[in-house]
Symmetry: D2
C-alpha cells in the first residue's frame, strides 16, 4: 500500500474520554482488520497529567502529553486525531493543518459557523499540500449505512420522494436529573439538535446525496428548569427538536431529535422512500438494513431484513464470517481504515470540513427558523 | 340491558362502499360478540338503485332505498349510520338528528368548519332530547389503543413529555398513478393531512387526553402533476404533511402523514413518552401494544410486547381466547357496541361531534400555518 | 354460481361453544365477503335447550334443536357443520353423510383411528353421490399460509431441505391450575400433541405437499399431578410433545407442541427451508409471511416481511384494502367460502376425511414411538 | 489487582485462523476495556512460517514460532491460548498444563471422550498447582446471555418447565457446494451437532444450571453426496441434528442444529420457559434479551426487549454508554477478562475442562441414541 521502506505513520490522539476511548480502539484494531500501512500510536494528549498518563497505559499509547501544541511539533507524528470538546476543534485543527499534519476531527466541526469557515479555509490550503482533513461522522462507516448508501447510489430507490430521520435518547426523562454544563448554551453550544439531530441530518444528506436547501425548525425545552446546587436553574438548550428539510431534489425530510424519549437509548432511525424502493435503519440494531424493492411483484413485496454481515457488504471483509455481528465500535475502525486509505492512496475522505460547515449551516438555519416562529429559512 | 318488551333498534346505513361494508360487518356481528339489545338492519341507502339493491342482499340489510330523506321518516329506524363522502355528512346528520334519530357519522366530521359547527349545534340540541350523536373515529376502538388509553389514564406514563404519530401509506408512490377526484381540493377537501393525518391527531388527543393548543404545519405536493385523460393535470391537495402540536400539558407531538411511503400500506404508528413509561403502537400489527415501564430496574427495562388478546383487555371479552388475534374490522364491531351502550345505557360516546369540530380546527390551523410559511397558529 | 332459482343452501350447526361461535361468525359473514350462493342459517343444535336457544338468538340462527338426528331429517338443511367434542364426530358425520348432507367436521377428525377409518369410508361413498365431506383444519385458510402454500407449489423454495413447526401455548404453566377433563386421556383423547401438535403437523404436510413416512416422538407430562376436588390427581395426557418426521422427499420436519411455554398464547410457528428459498410464519402475527428468496444477490438477501393484505393474496379480495389486517376469525369465513365452492362448483375441498385419517396415523405413530422409547415408527 | 511489581503476564496464541483472529482481538483490547493486570502478547504459533509471521505483524504479536513445544518452554509465557483444530487440543493442552502454564482451550474440548478425560485429569492436577484450565465456550460471555443466566440464577423464571435451543446456519444449502474436510468424519470429528449443536447444549446447561441426564437424538445427512475433485463423494457427518434432553430438574430441552437453513447465517436461538418467567435470545441480535415476567398482571404481560447495554448488565461497564451496541467479538474480550481474573484473583472460570467432558458425553449420548434408532440413552 505504501512504499516498503516508509516509516510507520505516527498518530496522536487529543482527548481520552468517551470519544478518545472509541478512537483508541479503532487505532488499536485497524491493522488487524484491514490491510493498511503500519501505524504507531505515538501519543495521547490531555490536560490532566495523571489521568492522561493512566489513559496512555490503559488505551495503549506509547506516550502522553499535556500540551497539544508540543505534539504538533513532533516529527514522528503524522495524524492528529481530535476528540476534544467542540469549542477546541477549530484552534487545534487549524494549527495541526498548518503544522502539516493530517487531521481527523470529531463532529461537530466547531461551535459556530465562523470557526467552521476558518477550518474549511485551513483545510483547503492543506489539501493543496496533500494533507487530509477528515470529519468524524462515524456512522457513515456503519456497514449497514454504507450499504444503504450503495443501494441509493446504484439507483435501487429510484427518485427520492420522502425521508425521515429521528434520533431519540432518554437521559433527560427524569425531570429531576441535575443541571449540568451540557444543558447550558454557553458551555454546550447546543442541545439535542446539535448533539444528535446533527447525526440524523448528516445521514439524510449522506444517504440521499442531496443537500438541504431550506428548512423549518422547532426547538423546545420541555423541562425548563433542573435542580442545581443552589436551587433550580434554567436549562438553556433544547431537549428536543423537530425540522423539515427541503432537499435539492424536491423531497422533504423530517428530522426529530430528543433526549426525552423513555426507553430509546440510542435510537437513530432513518427511512428513505423512493419511487422504486425504500430503506429503513435503526442504530439500536445496526447490523440490519431493511430494504423494500418496489419492482418485485406485489404479492412478494415487503421490507427485507438484510443482515449486513456478508463479504459483499462494505467493510465486512475486515471482520467476521456471515452472521457474526458487529458492534457500535467497529465503525470507528472502519473510519480509521478509510482515513489511512485517504492518506496513502489518495482516496477522497468524506465528509470533509466543507461538509461539516454545510451541516452547521443547516443546523443554524433550523435555529433561525425556530427563532422566526417556524418560518422557512434558506440554507446558505 | 333495555326493557324486555322494547322493540329492536332499527338501523339504517347510508353508503355501501368501503366504509359501508365495514359498518355492515359491524352491525351483522355486534350481537354475537357482545350483549346488546336486539337490532334490526332495516335499510341501506344509496343513489344507484341497482347497486344498492345488490349491496342490501350481499351485506345483509332487510331493504334498500335511494333517498335518505325518506328513511329519516321511517318509524322503525332509530339509528342513522352515515358512511357517505364527507361533503354530505352535515346535511344528512343534521336532518337525522332533527328527525329524532341517533346518528353515527364517519370521520371526517365535515368538509369545513362552518358545517361542523352547525352539526355540533344540532347535536347539542339532540343530546338534550336524549339522542346520541357519535363520530366514527373507529381506531379508538382497536383493543390495543383502548388499552393504551387505559394505561395513560391510570397514570402509568407519568407526565407526558413527548408524542409522535405518523400515518404512512404508499398508493401515490407511482408518479404515473392517474389523476382522480381524490387529488383535487374541490372534490376531496383535503389530501393526506385530512384523510389519514386526522387519525394520527385524533389518536394523540385521545390517548393523551390533551388538546392541541397551537400548531406549526407543512403540506407538500411532492408529485405536483399526474396524468389525466387529456394530459397532465395539477394535483391540488397535499400528498404528505408534517406538523408539530403543542399540547395542553406542554409536551410537543409530531405528526406526519404521507401517501408516498413505499411499502407502508396502512402504517399508523403512535409513540408516547412520559416520565414513568412509554408506549408504541403500529396499526399494521394492531394486536400488539408496546409498553415500557420506566419504574422497573434498568437491567430489566425495555419495551414489552403485549399481545392485546387477554380477557382483561378492552373489548376482548366479546371475541376469542388469548392469542387468537383480531383484525382491522373488529374495531367497527366494538364501535357499534359502544354506540348501542350509549343509546341504551346512557354511557357517553366519545368522540362526539364537538370532538370532531375540535379536530377540524387543528387541521385548519395546520393548513393556516403552512399558508403562513410554517409560523405557529393557535387552535381556537 | 348456482342456478338462479335454486333455493338457498340450508346450514345446520352442531355445537355452540368456542368453535360454534367461530363457525357462526363464518356463516354470518361469508356472503358479504365473497360471491357465494345464498345460504340460510337454519338451525343450531345443542343438548342444553336453554343454552342453545340463547345461542341461536345471539349467534343468529333461525331456530335451535337439541337432537341432531332430527336435524338430519330436515329437507331444508343441506350442510351439517360439526363443532362438537371430538368423540362425537364419527357418529354424527357418518349419519349426516348417510342422510345425504354435505359435512364440515372440525378437527380432529375423530378420537381414534378406527372411527376415522369408518368416516373415510362413509365419505368415499358420499363423494360418489356428489356430497362434500370437509375437515376443518381452518389454518390452511389463513391468507398468509395459503400464500405460503402458493409459493411452495410454484417452486419458489426449490427442493425442501428441512422444516420446523412448533405450537406453543401457556395455559398449563401454573402448576396449580386445576385438574380438568382435558387432562384425562379417557375424556380428552390426547394432550398437547393431538390438540395443537396436530395443527403443526397438518401445516407441514399441507405446505410442503409431502406426507410423513416415519416418525420419532416423545411425549411428556412435565406436571404429573394437578389439584382435583379431593386432592391431587394424575394428569394422563402429555402437556408437551416433540417429534421428528421424515417426509416423502427426504427432508426432516421437527415438531414441538407445548402448553407450558409462558407468554406464548397461541404461537404456531412454521419454518420451511428449501434450496432456493425459505419461509417463516407465526400465528400470533398472522398477517405476515416472511419469505427469503435465495436467488437474490447475497448483499440484498434476507427475510422479507410480506404483509398478506394485497389483492393478489389468497382470500384477500373478499376483505379490505392493503394494510387493513385480518384476524384469526377470518380464516373461518374463508373456509366457508371454499366449502360452498366445493358444493356448488365442484372445486375439491382439502383437507378431506382421508387427509384427517392420514394425520391421525401420524399422531398414532408418534405416540407409538414414544411408547417404544423414541424408536422410529413407520406411518402406515 | 496483581502485586504492583509483578511482571506482565505473557500470552502465547496457537493458531491464527478465524479463532486466532478473534482471540487476538480479545488480547489486544482487554486491557482497554477492563481493569486487568498488564499482559504481553508474546508469541503466535503456526506451522507455516511465512503465514504465521504475517499473522504476528497483522494481529499484533511480539514474535512468532512454528513449534508450540518450544513456546511451552518460554519463561516469559504464562498463558497458552489454544485455537488449533480440535484434534490437537488434547496434546497441546496437556503439555501446556504440565509445563505449568495457564490454558485457554477453544471448544470443542477434544475429538473424543478418551482425550477429554485425559485433559480433565491433567487439568485437575494443574488446578491443584494453582493453574487455570479454561474452555472457550465464549457465548457464555455474550452480555445478554450472562444477563439471562443472572435472571435464572436469581429465580426470576421460577421452576424450569421447558427449554428450546436451535442453532441454524445455511452454508450447506447449496446442494452443489463442494466436498471438504469438514464433511468427513475422519477429519472433522462431527458435523452440525458437534460444531454448533454443542453451543446450543452448552447454553441450555449453562443458563439453566442443570445437566442433561438422558437424551434422544437424531442425525441426518440430508445431502448425502457432494462433488469432489474426482466425482461425487459421500458426506460422512450430519448436516442437521435434533435431540431432546431430559434435564436434572425434570424439564425437557429440545435441541436443533442445521447447516441447511437458508437465510439463517448464525442463528442460535434459546428459549427458557419457567413457572414465573420466560426468556428468549437470538445470537443474530445479540444485544437483545427478551424476558417475560409472569408475575406482572396479565393485561401488561409480554416479552420485554431488554437492550443489554446498561451499566448494570454484565461486562457492559467495560464498553460504551447505553444503546451503543456490542458485536460478536466483544464476548472474546469479556472471556479474556474473566480468564485474567481467574488467574490473578482466584475467581473460578466456568466452563472448565470437566464441563467440556460432560458436554462431550451429552454429544456422545445423542450419537448413540441415533445409532439406536432414537431410543433414550443415559448420559454417564
Amino acid at each position: 500500500m505504501s512504499s516498503p521502506n516508509a516509516r510507520p505513520l505516527g498518530v496522536a490522539l487529543i482527548g481520552y474520554e468517551f470519544m478518545g476511548r472509541a478512537h483508541s480502539q479503532a487505532w488499536r484494531t485497524v491493522g488487524a482488520a484491514f490491510e493498511v500501512p503500519p501505524i504507531e500510536r505515538r501519543v495521547i494528549v490531555g490536560r490532566d497529567e495523571q489521568k492522561v498518563a493512566a489513559a496512555a497505559t490503559r488505551l495503549g499509547w506509547q506516550s502522553h502529553a499535556t500540551d497539544w501544541r508540543e505534539v504538533l511539533e513532533r516529527e514522528d507524528v503524522d495524524i492528529i486525531d481530535i476528540c476534544t470538546p467542540g469549542f477546541l476543534h477549530a484552534e487545534i485543527a487549524i494549527a495541526a493543518l498548518e503544522a502539516g499534519k493530517h487531521v481527523l476531527c470529531e463532529k461537530p466541526i466547531a461551535n459556530d459557523t465562523a470557526e467552521a469557515e476558518r477550518m474549511v479555509e485551513a483545510a483547503r490550503r492543506a489539501q493543496e499540500r496533500g494533507q487530509v482533513a477528515a470529519l468524524g461522522h462515524t456512522y457513515r462507516r456503519v456497514a449497514a449505512l454504507a450499504q444503504a448508501r450503495a443501494l441509493v447510489e446504484s439507483g435501487r430507490l429510484g427518485r427520492l420522494l420522502q425521508a425521515r430521520a429521528s434520533y431519540l435518547q432518554d437521559w433527560l426523562v427524569d425531570e429531576n436529573a441535575p443541571m449540568s454544563w451540557r444543558l447550558r448554551r454557553e458551555t454546550a453550544g447546543s442541545g439535542a439538535l446539535g448533539d444528535i439531530g446533527s447525526h440524523a441530518i448528516d445521514q439524510i444528506q449522506f444517504l440521499t446525496g442531496q443537500r438541504a436547501t431550506s428548512v423549518r425548525g422547532r426547538l423546545e425545552t420541555v423541562v425548563p428548569e433542573r435542580p442545581g446546587p443552589d436551587g433550580p436553574e434554567r436549562v438553556t438548550v433544547d431537549d428536543a427538536a423537530w425540522a423539515t428539510l427541503e432537499l435539492e431534489g424536491g423531497a422533504i425530510a423530517s428530522i426529530e431529535a430528543s433526549r426525552l424519549a423513555g426507553g430509546r437509548k440510542n435510537q437513530l432511525v432513518i427511512e428513505l422512500y423512493g419511487t422504486e424502493g425504500s430503506l429503513r435503519f435503526d442504530l439500536e440494531a445496526l447490523n440490519e438494513l431493511w430494504f423494500l424493492d418496489a419492482t418485485v411483484p406485489a404479492a412478494e413485496q415487503g421490507f427485507t431484513r438484510i443482515l449486513v454481515t456478508e463479504p459483499d457488504h462494505p467493510y465486512v471483509e475486515g471482520w467476521w464470517p456471515p452472521g457474526h455481528t458487529l458492534g457500535w465500535e467497529n465503525a470507528f475502525t472502519n473510519q480509521a481504515y478509510d482515513l489511512l486509505r485517504a492518506i496513502t492512496e489518495d482516496v477522497p475522505f468524506s465528509p470533509d470540513f466543507a461538509d461539516g460547515l454545510a451541516l452547521q449551516r443547516v443546523l443554524d438555519a433550523i435555529i433561525a427558523s425556530d427563532a422566526a416562529d417556524g418560518a422557512s429559512v434558506q440554507v446558505p
